[in-house]
Amino acid sequence: MIKPQTQSVKASSNSGDLILDVSRLSVQFQGDNGPVLAVNDVSFQVRAGERVGIVGESGSGKSVTAQALLSLLSGATIEGEVNFQGQNILEMAPEKLRKLRGWDISYIFQDPLSAMDPVRTVGDQVSQVLRLRGVGRLEAKERAIAMLSRVGIRNPEARFGDYPHQFSGGMRQRAMIAMALIGDPALVIADEPTTALDVRVQAQVIDLLYELTEERGVAVVFITHDLSILAAFAQRMMVMYAGRIVESGATDDIYYGSIHPYTLGLLNSLPRVTGDIAKELTTIGGQPPAPTNIPAGCAFNPRCRYVVDQCSEETPQLTIPKGANHPSRCHRSQWLAEKPGELR
């Protein structure tokens, strides 16, 4: 069904190949009161078919990082490199970038109602990616209907001509997923795709994204503020705080063996439906710093329960402490690594 010329445009990647290599990425905005460093020296890699999570609270720089991956930041000063299949996206010509977006890398936005065009039909928008690559109208429509059906939209032939406002929130997000995956991209960036949804719909949308990317071998970078929803989804994750990665590792290593006080704090403060009912939820005191006012030394030090003098004086590096299996940006990560499970 896929025309050879449209398929040949795309560089194929085998499972396990390095497809995304972000190296020393920093993003700075010009604020009213001087420059604001939103992302500070972030490096990470994604392999073909891999599901990677980025977790952080508001102001952590997670969404700005996601937008940088598709060079969607205008008016920002960007340093570092975002290499996708060997090419630096940040230095790509607009023409080339346009070919890449939605085709090799696609983006699922948090709010489909504002991300979709309200005066164009859902079908039109889902098939647009194909039409732009020279697929004929009829074939594009056929494939869009098949895709809408695959993402769980009933009666897709009839819904093809509906406008976004005629879809429910969950349905719209399904349509966004259809739009993101119809071009068979190598990488999907999902920026809090379920934040606005009810819990059951959220679970369905994440399950759908899981299934589809698994069956097509698509890599996913999933951005969220909620550690819980990554637990089953992601194979690997990064925790961001005040513009930096503070801990990264395999999912189980983060959840069961975190060696960063911020991650530990987040994990402990999440309410659950099972387990002991503690009288009080464990909390992290204070609040995340504004990007305009990041504390010196370790940015987490004013909120940290394990803080020592060194923390306010010296910025810790993201290193793997002795005896641990993943890196953490904490002066006391060695000490934390020696107490597996005790601090939970």
């Binding site: 609270e57 508001s58 769980g152 939209i153 009933r154 429910s168 929130g169 969950g170 349905m171 399904r174 009810d198 819990v199 059951r200 719909v201 959220q202 679970a203 369905q204 399950d207 899981y210 299934e211 503020h225 909620d226 550690l227 819980s228 929803i229 637990a231 089953a232 999912t251 189980d252 959840y255 069961y256 704090g265 987040l266 994990l267 403060s269 999440l270 309410p271 659950r272 439906v273 099972t274 009912i277 503690a278 009288k279 009080e280 939820l281 464990t282 909390t283 992290i284 005191g285 609040q287 995340p288």
Partner: protein, 280 residues
């Protein structure tokens, strides 16, 4: 158990269907439940379940179509203006969105003390100020916050301002409409703990509305689960979480994500085996 503070009896609220003159949709469909003095009752449901409409009917912010709401034995829906004013002091609402629920042009001190001026007009300036200081320390804000405007506060702090405003008039019943839903994860736990403390220190009765079961579990001794305007299940915390009876409660339980990869992978497997395919 303790005395009954609030009784909701056969509450119904209908809304006209858009574009139709006769059709109506029942947002709240024959809801009855009891709230006991000093307890926290969780009201859990997804959007469109009627949980917020129920809360607004209880406070008579919207008029129910039929039914009764008995507050300490008296029907709120039949109260005189004077009695209603007393009721509106005793029953306070904490809103979901701490951004739109605070007037951006009022200083924090004025926001919190507005209710005092209305309900206790004879309070002197000094008394109001003393009360303000007391309220600030209750909710964990500082005195120098009083002269600032809402814009200079984070979401968590704004929610504390909203809580202080509700507590200012010494309510017995606090209705909280998803008060932590829009807060950062690390702030949610702080605010949930604050409700717990306030409930104990002030002997408050709380109706706590949430869209997921995890949020209310720490605070609420009893939980009601709503769907499509109907209470599907109501019971003690133990009953609801350890032995949910209604299929809807169970589907909510397996949908709530928890920070535990092993159990989450199991839940994913369960969903793919059973609940999956039911598009919403």
């Amino acid at each position: 158990m303790n005395d009954v503070i609030l009784e909701v009896i056969n509450l119904v609220r209908e809304f006209p269907v858009q574009g139709s003159s006769r059709e109506v949709v029942r947002a709240v469909d024959d809801v009855s439940f009891t709230v006991y003095q000093g307890e926290a009752l969780g009201l859990v449901g997804e959007s469109g379940s009627g949980k917020s409409t129920t809360a607004r009917c209880i406070l008579r912010l919207i008029e129910p179509t039929s039914g009764a709401v008995l507050y300490q034995g008296r029907d709120v829906l039949k109260m005189s203006r004077a009695d209603l004013k007393v009721f509106r002091r005793e029953a306070q609402l904490v809103f979901q969105d701490p951004y739109s629920s605070l007037d951006p042009k009022m200083r924090v001190g004025d926001i919190i003390s507005e209710g005092l001026h209305i309900h206790f007009p004879r309070m002197s300036k000094d008394e109001v100020f003393a009360e303000l200081k007391n309220l600030l320390s209750l909710v964990g804000l500082r005195e120098d916050h009083l002269n600032r405007f809402p814009e200079s506060f984070s979401g968590g702090e704004r929610q504390r301002i909203g809580i202080a405003r509700a507590l200012a008039v010494k309510p017995s019943l606090l209705v909280c409409d998803e008060p932590v839903a829009s807060l950062d994860v690390s702030i949610q736990a702080q605010v949930l703990n604050l409700f717990q403390e306030l409930k104990e220190s002030l002997g408050l009765t709380i109706i706590f509305i949430a869209h997921d079961l995890a949020t209310v579990r720490h605070l609420c001794q009893r939980v009601a689960v709503m769907e499509q305007g109907v209470i599907r299940e109501i019971g003690s915390r133990e009953q609801i979480y350890q032995n949910p009876q209604h299929p809807y409660t169970r589907s909510l339980m397996v949908s709530v994500p928890e920070p535990d990869p092993k159990s989450e992978r199991e839940k994913l497997r369960l969903r793919q085996a059973g609940l999956d395919g039911e598009a919403v």
